[in-house]
Amino acid sequence: MTLLLSQWRAEWLKLLMRKRTYIGFGAFIAMELVILFVAQRQGPETFYRRMIERQGGMFESHFSALTLGFLVLAFSAALLGSIYLALVSGDIVAKESEDGNLRLLLARPVSRLRLLAVKYATCTCYAWLLIQFIAWSAFALGVYMRGFGGGMFVFAPEQGLAELWDWDEGLRRYAMCSVFLGASMTTVSSVAFFFSCFRIKPAAATIAALSYMLVDTILLRTNLLSSYEYLLITTYLESWVRVFVEPIPWALLARNYSVIAAVNISLFALGTAWFCSRDLKS
């Protein structure tokens, strides 16, 4: 166990010392500032005022830091977050293989399974942490712009959600949604990791993962496969919004996150099996 932890620490050291790791963090701060700025311009503000008042709330209290935080998560985390997660996870094996670092690593008495398990654990944790960063930095910027307290308005037309919450319950559900969204986004990392295990350029692994996720989302959005929605991973990844439904559909969440866990494990197992069967020729 100590050995595994020291190997995990070494993997984190590699990840955290790379500039690329921080691109996502920087990009999201910029993105959040833009979204929060635009959301307070007259057009969007009028739209939100109408929506909140239609639900019986007061714009001044319900257009709060939590509402702005949710806005950032709903409109940017899944799309822009996917790009940065795919970038980091697509690199994690393929880049080392391309650069030649893997030869030195595999000349050590460590199994390929262990090596990949450590890398997979690192990139899924990174996915979760990046989402936490996005959620709480958006909240912090929202607090800076709108102050602490008020209510919360959740608007997610794709899921048919338009709900009002008081501050305490809203904050609790916001915290829960950040945890669930983080778990959903580990699948993007898993897909990129899976492609990274093949004999492939790191950029190709990233693009393949993003393409898969985009095609899946487009198929879901256009209802072309409405009878087969259960086959599209995006169906399950969007479950995080369900924490804003009253009462919370725990059974549905449990089922959907079990599917996500199964998909992640399958992608890890398939990627690892392929990698372990590969000859690493110099």
Partner: protein, 298 residues
């Protein structure tokens, strides 16, 4: 018992052309063995299989009695490896690179790390990013990381490639020191025949995936010694030589029977009135042997 046993390795990347065809050899404790061959002869495939990175179609490699194919982790605990143009994480320092690599061996001793870095003359630069290292410094860091799990054996894959002559000499002296002072066993894959000749006790020569020679480095093999004579009285010398059971060839090469020593033969020729202008040992060099075995006429 040898430290490394390569047993009947066969590997084909393509069906019609085997990369290795039943290659077997051994590396004894404390020996430096050179692995030679043209490009594509299968040297890197042998090293790949020895490190468990390549799966053989047949055969296996045993290190200290442990099969790499069956118990890779245990077998690899006994070796360290260096590759041609070693690649490190450029955004990490030399020290951090060592820590990352050693974490995979489950071994880290800060004192030992400092000692080895000092030994390879890199302690002062260990805190700098490896992107600032020269090729020679990278090679020394590669050597340090290979020595970190205290291996019994080193696998060196083209270790002097790209080094300047001073770097090559420094590297050679260090490797010989490892052998002489610490009894380290070394398997060296190199194109540089002169390096192999200077460093190795034995060599294995591969040609198109097959072993064509295994034995002492030819120039170091006393049994292979021949002589060369220069004389204006070559015909007379040849007639005398025949009486002693020796033979002098047209190019001056002399084959002596085992019971006559070189200086004794010369004394007999001179006493018989043959003028000898030059008499020297004419050993087959590694290059002669290598070209003989791998050249187009082999």
């Amino acid at each position: 018992m040898p430290l490394i046993e390569v047993q009947h390795l066969t590997k084909a990347w393509r069906k019609d052309k085997p990369a290795l065809d039943d290659v077997s050899f051994e590396v004894g404790y404390g020996q430096i063995v050179g692995l030679l061959g043209h490009n594509g002869a299968g040297k890197s495939t042998v090293l790949g299989i020895t490190l468990g990175m390549v799966r053989p179609d047949k055969g296996e490699v045993r290190i200290g009695g442990e099969s790499v194919q069956k118990n890779r982790a245990k077998a690899l605990q006994q070796i360290g490896a260096i590759f041609e143009a070693p690649v490190f994480y450029d955004y990490l320092s030399g020290w951090q690179n060592l820590r990352v690599l050693c974490s995979l061996s489950g071994w880290w001793d800060e004192q030992e790390a400092r000692r080895i870095l000092k030994m390879v003359n890199l302690l002062d630069r260990a805190g700098h990013k490896t992107s600032t290292y020269s090729h020679g410094m990278r090679q020394r860091l590669a050597l340090a990381q290979a020595l970190m799990p205290r291996p019994k054996c080193l696998l060196l894959d083209e270790p002097t490639d790209g080094l300047d002559p001073e770097g090559i000499r420094e590297f050679r002296e260090f490797v010989l020191k490892l052998k002489n002072d610490f009894g380290m066993t070394i398997l060296l894959n190199s194109h540089l025949l002169a390096e192999v000749e200077l460093m190795c006790d034995r060599c294995v020569i591969l040609k198109e995936g097959r072993k064509v020679y295994e034995g002492p480095v030819p120039s170091k093999d006393a049994g292979e010694a021949r002589y060369r004579i220069e004389s204006p009285d070559l015909e007379k010398a040849r007639a005398l030589a025949a009486q002693f059971g020796a033979a002098i060839h047209a190019d001056g090469a002399v084959d002596l029977p085992p019971d006559i020593l070189g200086h004794e033969f010369v004394r007999r020729l001179v006493e018989a009135g043959v003028r000898v202008e030059s008499w020297q040992k004419n050993r087959r060099t590694l290059e002669d042997c290598y070209l003989e075995l791998t050249g187009p006429n082999a």
